[in-house]
């Protein structure tokens, strides 16, 4: 039996719009760093972004070519499964729609893969139609390595572990293939508004 800790409220605040905070989340002003492994520091001239798997032809961009792609700057709220949310974050990056333009595929899922071996899986429908980006700037500055730089996936409508740091590509797959956390206890989809945190949710 867990006793309630008198006077303990956690980091809950009254000065934020409650309608923007999913159930069980609290709002932070800082940007917590959570990481499943050491921070990689790839040389940008060695860096590339790849679309492969069940596609007509694999595509790859160098860092320079990636920066040439049409980019967007957008403001979104982000929600980490460890219960912090950060509202109104400003990012710049390339939409996944842009990256998949001209790609022919019958795949229904993607696995994002990263430097350091991290993976996360998503239905294709969750990363298209303006819902996901590969972001390389935060708040107008180049994305810092500890926050996933040089580039990270950004899928703000799902819990933040889906927004893979240090992302290097997307593998399109016919079958859903659970990623690093999805295969070890975390929810396969991770919708914060439905509190899809764990396998048991």
């Amino acid at each position: 039996m867990t006793p309630v800790s008198r006077g303990f409220h956690g980091r809950r605040r009254s000065d934020v719009d409650a309608a923007r905070v999913p159930p069980g989340q609290y709002v932070v002003d800082d940007f917590p760093v959570l990481s499943a492994g050491p921070t990689p520091h790839p040389e940008l001239d060695q860096w590339s972004f790849t679309i492969n798997g069940a596609v007509d032809e694999a595509r790859s961009w160098s860092w320079a070519a990636f920066l040439e792609l049409p980019s967007e700057t957008f403001t979104v709220d982000i929600h980490c499964v460890t219960k912090w949310s950060k509202l109104g974050t400003i990012w710049t990056g390339v939409s996944v729609d842009q990256l998949l333009e001209d790609v022919e595929t019958s795949a229904e899922f993607v696995t994002a893969f990263s430097d350091g071996g991290y993976t996360t899986n998503l239905p294709l429908g969750d990363v298209t139609d303006g819902q996901a980006w590969v972001a390389y700037a935060f708040d107008g500055e180049p994305l810092e390595p500890e926050h996933g730089g040089p580039a990270r996936l950004l899928v703000p409508h799902l819990y933040f572990w889906k927004s893979a740091k240090w992302v290097r590509g997307l593998t399109l797959t016919a079958e859903d293939e659970p990623g690093f956390w999805e295969s070890n206890g975390y929810h396969n989809r991770g919708d914060p508004w439905k509190e899809e945190r764990y396998w048991s949710d």
Partner: protein, 233 residues
């Protein structure tokens, strides 16, 4: 919670009454879990400060800026409140007087807490083990247990303190970050095979452990414990 005691402007010692406490070994830690009325929970690990021989169980908590759990423990918790604990935990970063020595303890900031438990244990069992302690902190008012450190020194522990950011007038201790010369002054020589315990922030622990290996200490005799982000702030 029986009593709370201020150690520094930034740290408090919680004196706890724990029915059925199974006892612990100096150096072990425990987990504190807080639960809000709506079921929200937060959990952090804290080193046990008291000696195994002490009547009360004590934790020393340094209040972190924006620390969800530490600020609750330091500011909100009052005598009579209940705390959910899990422990003791850890069998690696531990020392018993019967393990003998020499003992070389190096603590950065709140990394002093488990080391203090070891020295309190040494004192409680009246052990004559050669013991040396290095305390590194930013400023004098961040040094935990200052009076007690003098007591340790009187009981034969070689105590050195280095203040890396700011020193009070007339300060006679160290003034720089731990380096090879400081470690050499503190001793003991690697060929005496001291049992070494290093505890503190990750950067402190890594630097000190590296210096110790370079000085010729055997890596297997160096035990480290890092304080770092535990996930979720």
């Amino acid at each position: 919670m029986r009593e709370v005691r201020a150690e520094t402007p930034y740290a408090k010692t919680l004196v706890l009454d724990v029915p059925g406490w199974p006892g612990h070994i100096a150096g072990q830690h425990l987990d504190v879990r807080l639960t809000a009325e709506d079921g929200y929970q937060a959990q952090r690990s804290y080193s046990i400060a008291s000696a195994p021989e002490a009547a009360d169980l004590e934790l020393t908590v340094v209040e972190l800026a924006d620390g969800e759990v530490s600020s609750y423990l330091c500011d909100e918790l009052r005598a009579g409140d209940l705390l959910e604990l899990r422990g003791p935990i850890g069998g690696y970063f531990t020392w018993r007087a019967t393990d003998d020595g020499p003992l070389l303890l190096l603590g950065g900031g709140s990394g002093l807490v488990p080391l203090a438990a070891m020295l309190r244990h040494r004192a409680a069992v009246d052990a004559a083990v050669d013991a040396r302690l290095l305390v590194s902190a930013g400023r004098i008012d961040e040094v935990l247990y200052r009076d007690e450190l003098d007591g340790f020194a009187r009981s034969g522990v070689a105590v050195q303190c280095t203040l890396t950011r700011e020193q009070p007038p007339g300060w006679s201790g160290g003034t720089r970050r731990v380096d090879a010369a400081l470690l050499h002054d503190l001793g003991p020589e690697p060929d005496r095979r001291p049992r070494i315990y290093v505890c503190g922030p990750t950067a402190f622990v890594e630097t000190v452990a590296e210096l110790l290996v370079e000085a010729g200490h055997e890596p297997s005799l160096i035990k480290t414990e890092r304080f770092g982000p535990s996930g979720g702030g």
